[in-house]
């Protein structure tokens, strides 16, 4: 029982720093950069993605014995897209302002690599409870990153936090840096945050060397095909090698690619 509890705790906490989906695994980068102009958008996007992540993890983990191996990726995408549609309708009905500011990135949760990667790497191989916890942990890590980035960009670019004007910078004594809420600011803040996360993770590995994870594809993704589906893995291992590997595999399969 104790070990079970421990491992559940591990499933949850790994998503926060060690295997933080955005900062460490580089999954779901597009919405991270696009919607984090304010902290509020970050919360909205984080919660929406977490909801889809947990629900699709549950369904996929339940359907695990039924889905044939060959069509698993389309099956996963269909499940995910259905939940995204639910979120979209709920947002349109109850949070029209947020829906407006997140815009196209709500339907695009469908192709958010985090969700597909967790479905492929975790939910399709584990029971329901660990899958829920995994979804919650990854979702929490994702939301925390989005809120952090949104807060940094909102404070520096607009002089406010959660629409609340800050002293000095919000009242115009110090001019806010508009560039931070424009697209280049997103790239810049994200780059700095990744550098910090790398440093932090290095520090943690030093303290606890047993827990060090393989950095090449960060533990979460070991199936090359699934990884390549979103192209995020190429960030770690170099696209050329990955492409060569896939080409070899394709030649070997001789036609019927799964």
């Amino acid at each position: 029982m104790a070990t079970k509890k421990m491992s559940l705790r591990h499933e949850f906490t790994k998503g926060l720093v060690k295997e933080n989906p955005v900062l460490r695994l580089m999954l779901g980068v597009c919405p991270t950069l696009a919607v984090t102009t304010t902290a509020k958008n970050g919360i909205g996007m984080g919660l929406a993605a977490t909801f889809v992540l947990v629900s699709s993890n549950i369904v996929i983990s339940l359907l695990r014995p039924v889905i044939p191996e060959k069509v698993r990726i389309p099956a996963f995408i269909t499940v995910i897209a259905s939940f995204v549609t639910i979120v979209q309708m709920l947002m349109q009905a109850y949070l029209p302002d947020l829906n407006e500011s997140l815009g196209i990135f709500i339907p695009l949760i469908t192709v958010n690599c985090i969700i597909l990667a967790r479905a492929e790497m975790f939910a399709s191989k584990n029971k329901v409870l660990p899958s829920i916890v995994d979804g919650l942990g990854m979702g929490a890590g994702y939301s925390a990153t989005l809120v952090l980035m949104g807060a940094i960009r909102e404070i520096m670019g607009n002089g406010s936090i959660m629409d609340f004007k800050l002293p000095l910078i919000g009242t115009g004594t110090i001019e806010p840096m508009l560039i931070m809420i424009l697209p280049p600011g997103g790239f810049f803040v994200f780059g700095i945050l990744i550098a910090l996360a790398q440093k932090l993770s290095e520090h943690m590995d030093k303290k606890n060397p047993d827990a060090a994870i393989d950095d090449s594809c960060a533990g979460a993704i070991n199936d090359k095909t699934a990884c390549l589906l979103c192209g995020a893995c190429s960030l770690h291992q170099g696209m050329d090698e990955a492409v060569d590997e896939m080409r070899e595999k394709q030649d070997k399969d001789g036609g019927d690619r799964s």
Binding site: L33, P107, L116, L229, L235, M239
Partner: protein, 196 residues
């Protein structure tokens, strides 16, 4: 004609898919390490984007919308794109093996590329007519290609630069992406100047 040109140029330069709309960041960061893969990837994206828009537009406007099924948009679009990619791959392999050799490998990678689904949804959101939708997706694909090419060039420079240790790898790549994005601000007034 003028509207078409406005749509085309804003999709390529002003509202660049990668640098200003943040669609397709994964391949943008992933395959920009050398020019050859960048070229293969961006041609595949351009091709699939145009074909996908040419199919999703009629599916939405002739099939889903008149029957009150607009809420099925996300599910149907992703399924159309996934099967389309599969079909293109099979057809290319049988019909034009040489093209398949150079593009085929990138095709499975772009099913979940948000630029493709993004372009399809944007065409609907902006209520473009069919020709406008096609022009918009050509522009979006060309914009993706342009950003990828420029960035591949920047990265080959950055690779040889002396970067502080903690910024090595992804962080410095993102910061240089920020600088490339700033340079695209230069195009902001272009449309009004040219067509206004």
């Amino acid at each position: 004609m003028k509207e078409m040109l406005i749509i085309l140029f804003s999709a390529i330069l002003v509202d660049n898919f990668v640098l200003s709309r943040f669609l397709g960041i994964c391949p943008f960061l992933g395959v920009s390490k050398n020019l050859k893969t960048a070229m293969g990837m961006s041609f595949a994206v351009l091709f699939v984007m145009v074909v996908a828009s040419a199919i999703t537009w009629p599916v939405f406007n002739l099939l889903l919308f008149p029957n009150g099924l607009a809420y099925l948009q996300t599910v149907i679009f992703i399924l159309v794109i996934a099967s389309l990619v599969q079909i293109i791959e099979t057809v290319l392999r049988k019909a034009i093996p040489s093209l398949y050799r150079s593009l085929g490998i990138y095709l499975p990678l772009i099913t979940t590329n948000c630029a493709i689904l993004g372009a399809a949804i944007l065409n609907i959101d902006q209520q473009y007519s069919f020709p406008e939708a096609i022009v918009n997706s050509i522009g979006a694909g060309a914009g993706f290609m342009l950003a990828l090419f420029i960035f591949a060039g920047v990265r080959s420079k950055v690779d040889h630069a002396d970067v502080p240790k903690f910024m090595k790898g992804m962080p410095i790549t993102l910061v240089s992406a920020a600088l490339v994005a700033i340079s695209f601000f230069g195009f902001k007034g272009l449309i009004e100047k040219l067509f206004g």
